[in-house]
Symmetry: C2
Subunit: 164 residues, 2 copies
DNA sequence: GGGTACATACTCGGATAGTGGCTGTCCGAGTGTCAGAGG
DNA sequence: CCTCTGACACTCGGACAGCCACTATCCGAGTATGTACCC
């Protein structure tokens, strides 16, 4: 029971962030096709494609069709926050959905109160703290916190992957 | 698509908080049976029972069997935080489950890095901010932020519900 | 009158569906690149 | 040498099935109260 997540977040979020980080390191080498990214992380290509399409639709990634097309970063790594990626992949609604049960049933207040119930407010406050932390972290920050050799190694391995 | 929650949290959380708040206001009037709470909020009794059982197992509520039994608060309202309720109902694992995809596939680092990946760290930081906010809010705080007449009205309506 | 047995009203725990979202796959359509044929 | 045409390698978007957690319900068992019955 203790392995059940408090709030479930799709696996695509982890995929998306990793792909953005990799694309950031591979910037300048041209678009990266889905198949290569999927082999890179050993992920199902078709489903990964769906996730990256969402990121492209949000402007986080850029997709170029054609024979040498693929996905590349849609804007500078400093301007891509984790919040952007999460919102693009999972939607914009918060984790706590207030169904206003206080207004139903015998004990309900009916339309007596028009303001938000205090529970909704309290949960929203926590959610905002979470969003703020996510928005404060950009892809560039993740790049900076990684070992200095990461960029070089990523480019080298990608070259091997492209040639092999 | 914009109605899809970022992280899904079960509806039982809202139920649980509302029930705790109601039980706090009804303290001193003896245990409240499930059927009455369910009618109070117009919720399915059997499923609500399952949720409150989880709260009782966590020590947040106290359940007394027998003919005049029911649920009551397991400890003082000041010592029941929203984090306690959420953790008891949804489990203790975080929303972001790092599956370490960086270690898989062609581009993976294998066992090269033993530390946590920076993505996991960043997501955990946001999650901790969320937890901290939830832990800072207690049932007593919610009671204090409600209109002063709430306690009296709750007790009066409960008396009507019990007699009717 | 006092003690015992039974009915009652609850909770506890397990077993069992229904439902919706996430996961994963397949297919047709559109688009840009490149090679090759023809002028 | 230049241009046009076709093959190719991608992305885009929709349709579809499988799986799992949440939701919801039912049933038997346990427990405390309250009453009725018997001595």
């Amino acid at each position: 029971m203790c392995n059940v997540p408090i709030m479930k977040m799709g696996a695509g979020v982890e995929w998306g962030i990793h792909c953005c980080l990799t694309l950031a390191w591979l910037e300048g080498a041209g678009p990266v096709p889905i198949g290569r990214l999927a082999r890179w992380f050993d992920l199902p290509p078709e489903y990964l494609k769906k996730r990256l399409q969402l990121l492209a639709r949000a402007g986080i990634l850029e997709s170029t069709p054609g024979v040498q097309g693929g996905f590349s970063l849609g804007r500078r790594p400093e301007r891509i926050t984790l919040m952007d990626i999460v919102a693009a992949l999972e939607g914009s609604a918060g984790p706590f959905q207030c169904t206003e049960i206080r207004q139903r049933g015998v004990g309900g207040h009916g339309a007596e109160f028009t303001g938000d119930c205090s529970i909704k407010t309290a949960m929203r406050r926590a959610e905002l703290a979470w969003r703020r932390e996510l928005a404060a972290q950009s892809i560039a920050d993740l790049m900076a916190s990684a070992p200095p050799a990461s960029a070089e190694r990523t480019r080298r391995r990608y070259a091997d992957l492209a040639s092999g």
